[in-house]
């Protein structure tokens, strides 16, 4: 018995999306002036599901040796957007509608973390994503988050965060 994909999601990453995924991965890992400095490493790239590890440099600290929570939102917004792309049947520009983050635990500057995210479904051109950040060293939970993304924005992808 095979599992059906959640509402509105592709069963596997569509070949039409793969070129865009490679471009997004290259941007995350090398080309983007900010994101390229975080040592992104893909652990899983599936249809509507991704997992990445990355560094949290001290320059995003809160002054007490810990990372400022706002920087975790930068990471979550970027990777949630990428996860929406993995769920698409064809490439369309996206834009973040909203994002909510609950901060469970502080994380020390210089830590390496894992961001797991899942596109839970797509309805009426709105994709819903949830995810979590955990510490790579002991897998303890740092933050949980959820967001909604508009799929197929008009014109250039003005609001796309990737």
């Amino acid at each position: 018995m095979t599992e059906s994909p959640p509402t509105g999601l592709a069963a596997e990453i569509n070949p039409a999306i793969r070129g865009m995924m490679r471009a997004a991965r290259d941007m995350l890992q090398h080309e983007h002036s900010l994101l390229g400095s975080l040592g992104f490493k893909p652990l899983l790239l599936g249809a509507g599901k991704t997992s990445f590890s990355l560094d949290l440099p001290a320059r995003f600290g809160d002054g007490s040796g810990m990372i400022h929570g706002g920087f975790l939102t930068v990471v979550l917004d970027s990777l949630f957007g990428l996860t929406v792309f993995t769920a698409m049947e064809e490439f369309k520009p996206i834009a973040t509608i909203n994002l909510r983050t609950d901060y469970i635990k502080e994380v020390a500057a210089g830590s390496r973390v894992i961001c797991d995210s899942v596109c839970e479904g797509v309805r009426n051109e709105v994709a819903y994503v949830s995810g979590r950040l955990t510490l790579d060293a002991d897998k303890s939970l740092i933050a949980i988050a959820s967001g909604a993304f508009m799929v197929g924005t008009k014109g250039p992808a003005k609001g796309s965060r990737l």
Partner: protein, 136 residues
């Protein structure tokens, strides 16, 4: 526990690595302040689009809410974010952003705040953030 709005604490709050990365500052405006994100190239989301990264906008609004609360509490009162939520109302440009903060309720242990961020026109906000901040 609460004290008059003390603008000097905002500069102290901004003097962290994250505050410097955001180019964060605040100017007094009556009993509150107008906060500023000074644009830099690292704040860009997609280089093809040249808009602020959505996460950067969220970080700026969260930082502004923390600064605003810090300016209303006794010096050194510990503040941490329990929950942050943001709605993106309009696309942004690759330029400075400003924000105002409203205190919805200042409790003994939790404060509820709302921040509105804009660029060209305050009447056309780019994003609205809400945070529950833990005091102590």
């Amino acid at each position: 526990m609460s004290a008059p709005f003390e603008i000097s604490r905002i500069a102290a709050h901004a003097a962290s690595p994250m505050g410097e990365w955001l180019g964060f500052s605040g100017e007094a405006d009556g009993e509150s302040a107008v906060y500023k994100l000074a644009f830099s190239e690292e704040h860009i989301g997609n280089p093809m689009i040249r808009a602020l990264h959505g996460g950067v906008i969220a970080a700026f609004l969260e930082f502004a809410m923390q600064a605003d609360l810090a300016a209303r509490l006794e010096a050194g009162a510990p503040i941490s974010t329990a929950t942050m939520a943001i709605d993106y109302l309009a696309s942004s440009r690759a330029e400075d952003m400003r924000a105002r903060v409203r205190i919805m309720r200042l409790g003994r242990r939790i404060a509820f705040l709302e921040a509105t961020g804009w660029q060209a026109d305050e009447a056309q906000p780019v994003a609205i953030g809400r945070a529950s901040l833990r005091i102590g």
